[in-house]
Symmetry: C2
Subunit: 195 residues, 2 copies
DNA sequence: GCTGAATCGGACCAGCGATCCACATAAGTG
DNA sequence: CACTTATGTGGATCGCTGGTCCGATTCAGC
């Protein structure tokens, strides 16, 4: 890649990052290009679709989250690890308002630039889940797909202005369903802890 | 209203209903107008915004759901009534793909044409919820706003092609959090039923 | 400095919701 | 029935979106 092209690419990523933080992932690509001082065509050649741009932007975050899952797998109790990782996932999406619906679409579209990242993320969650299930902390009748869906639902709620103030509380409610006796969560009614 | 205007209005509603069933609430208004054999301006005069059109279209359904809540309030056990009504709400939204995000936006925007309907719906749910809480069947730390959010989250999941196959299961998971010992729901681990 | 290839961005396209206004028509009046 | 007027209509148009094309520009190697 030519030096000027590389510079443009990096600058575009930086500008896109702040623009998305300000206006969400639906920000007009023209705005990003204008703020970066390049033409729309230049942006679209570096990143042919909005998803490709997001993928380049989010790749580091995705890797962080999967790495975090790997750490938690050995450093924390199964239940704590799962709920802590879920929390990380949900809070992370708040930085990229609107990304949830793209992820939900990408996970079943192999053509999407975000597909691979989403599948990896789901797999990381599934490992934490099965570990917690083996320990008897998480309910048995859900799998990685369910977990991914629950994360997406909570993240979506965080994206909605009317629902966002409740996001933390909703997380607790959902978490209490996945981990009925999770540490730090108040059980809904009286739940007998697993011995 | 003039007779021809009335006829156009009714025809537009009928066409919009089928178009939305086919393509979701994001269907192009131009398409609806064209399929109805009128100009776009005519559609937009009868229904100034997409929300106004949806409000006219959904009003009957909203009334049905609130009426259903009133019935259940006297005919069923508090827990059963709540979970049954939740199920009705969520399955209803599947007929109008994409309506959830509009409802979530409308509930806190008093200017929205859908605002009043959403508030009424939330109030109906809140009544069922407090009744179930008084009976000790529903967890105490949620309110009508939380319930509305949970319905919206489940409905949104049903709208996402990748998540829709799991929608029923996700409903059970969330319901088990709201009503830990709801009849017909298998408790996640062992939960001691309230005496 | 020159040349060829890589890169750029303004001009365009189709689609969207929305608005305007000349025209058509239904409803009321004599 | 004829005439008037208020109402309803829809094609043309606007600004915006994501996306494509191609002539102009700039870089990299010799």
């Amino acid at each position: 890649m030519r030096a000027d092209a590389r510079k443009n690419r990096d600058h575009l990523l930086a500008v896109a990052s702040t623009a998305i933080a300000e206006q969400g992932v639906d920000v007009a690509l023209r705005d990003i290009a204008r703020r970066a001082g390049v033409g729309l065509a230049t942006l679209l050649r570096h990143f042919p679709t909005r998803e490709a741009l997001l993928d380049a932007l989010l790749h580091a975050s995705f890797d962080e989250l999967t790495a975090k899952a790997g750490e938690l797998e050995t450093s924390s109790a199964p239940g704590d690890a799962l709920v802590s990782w879920l929390r990380d996932c949900v809070t992370w999406t708040t930085e990229y308002r609107g990304v949830t619906v793209l992820m939900a679409a990408a996970i079943e579209d192999p053509e999407s630039a975000l597909h691979a990242s989403c599948v990896t993320l789901r797999a990381a969650g599934a490992r934490l889940l099965t570990r917690a299930q083996a320990a008897g902390t998480a309910r048995d009748d859900i799998d990685g797909d369910d977990l991914f869906a629950l994360i997406a639902m909570l993240a979506w709620a965080g994206d909605q202005p009317a629902l966002a103030p409740r996001a933390d509380h909703l997380f607790e409610v959902v978490a209490s369903a996945v981990l009925p006796a999770a540490a730090g969560q108040s059980a809904p009614l009286r739940t007998r802890p697993v011995s």
